[in-house]
Symmetry: C2
Subunit: 197 residues, 2 copies
């Protein structure tokens, strides 16, 4: 099975001087800790400056706004996830049969979208529709469908397979309707199998 063509990286970042990059990393690290411990609501610019031991001005210069911090955290999540998909352990990463990779991909996209929901809401609309992220997901699913021998209009079938894992739909199902993730994944796996036969 051949590897897919090079994929777009989630978000381009301008090149930074090494100390600026370290500075940025320290702030992101503090932000990550804060969100993990107390949720996205706890992250304010004041609080972040305090936790990272820098002036508030530095935080604003780095990220522009609270939305900017949330956006940067999301980028980090997305990049790490894309790394795992492209070169991590199977079955999410290469090496497993395409059908197993597809199911692992769906499971991990469900987790990513639900875990990111709070950050995405806090980051605002600008970050929500990330074209590069959408395009990564669509390209990967198309590649796995083809590798698994699926027939039909693969670009559109890939869109159809991804659409029900949209963050808004998952949130509605899990948070409002109380449907559990195992059931969502089971129905999605059923859909995958119907596309592969």
């Amino acid at each position: 099975m051949s590897q897919p063509p090079p994929l777009p990286i989630a978000f381009g970042l301008p090149t930074e001087r090494a100390d600026a990059a370290r500075n940025r990393e320290a702030l992101l690290c503090a932000a990550r800790r804060l969100v993990a411990a107390e949720g996205a609501d706890a992250l304010t610019m004041d609080r972040l400056a305090c936790e990272a031991g820098v002036g508030k001005g530095t935080v604003f210069r780095r990220f522009g706004s609270r939305e900017g911090v949330m956006g940067a955290l999301l980028n980090e999540h997305a990049r790490a996830w894309q790394e795992r998909v492209l070169s991590g352990e199977p079955p999410l990463g290469p090496g497993a049969p395409p059908r197993e990779r597809l199911v692992a991909f769906g499971a991990s996209l469900i987790e990513l979208n639900l875990a990111g929901a709070e950050l995405i809401a806090a980051a605002g609309d600008a970050v929500e529709r990330s074209f590069a992220m959408d395009s990564f997901v669509a390209t990967h699913v198309r590649y796995l469908l083809r590798a698994a021998g699926a027939r039909g209009d693969l670009p559109l079938l890939a869109v159809a397979l991804i659409a029900p894992l949209d963050r808004r739909i998952l949130e509605q199902q899990v948070r409002l309707e109380g449907i559990d993730r195992d059931r969502i994944l089971a129905a999605w796996t059923d859909l995958v199998d119907r596309l592969l036969t």
Copy 2:
């Protein structure tokens, strides 16, 4: 084949006195004409008052804002469409085999979502996520899947079938990627057939 249970109506409207209702209808009629002839951008409160031959104050009292007018136009569209689905001519309405009704429903939802896109954008977020409309669509698709003898987790398969016909996805495909509607409907019909076997 038995009929589905009573379905939620798109939007509840408070009861109005007959003259107020006529007044409202005249304004909506002018709004509809304006949007059909010149697009949603042409509809301003001033222009609407002028076209309908009433004072601007009357328009504001009736609809609150330009978004309110757009929302009312959307409600009208949605109500008329639900009527056609529930009691109009087959294959969209009752009387055709469930698989044919499902395909007709998909085709008509694609048209509705694309035609409404401009109005929805103008009406803002409040109208965009109409719970009653989502629930009508989901209930109807679930009913047709069951009537067609589909097996599996029908509530979640219905969500999966509806998700790729989301307005944002359709707009991306048609307006940005230049995919034509026939191809979208063909891929969707393929998906339907895979769920029915």
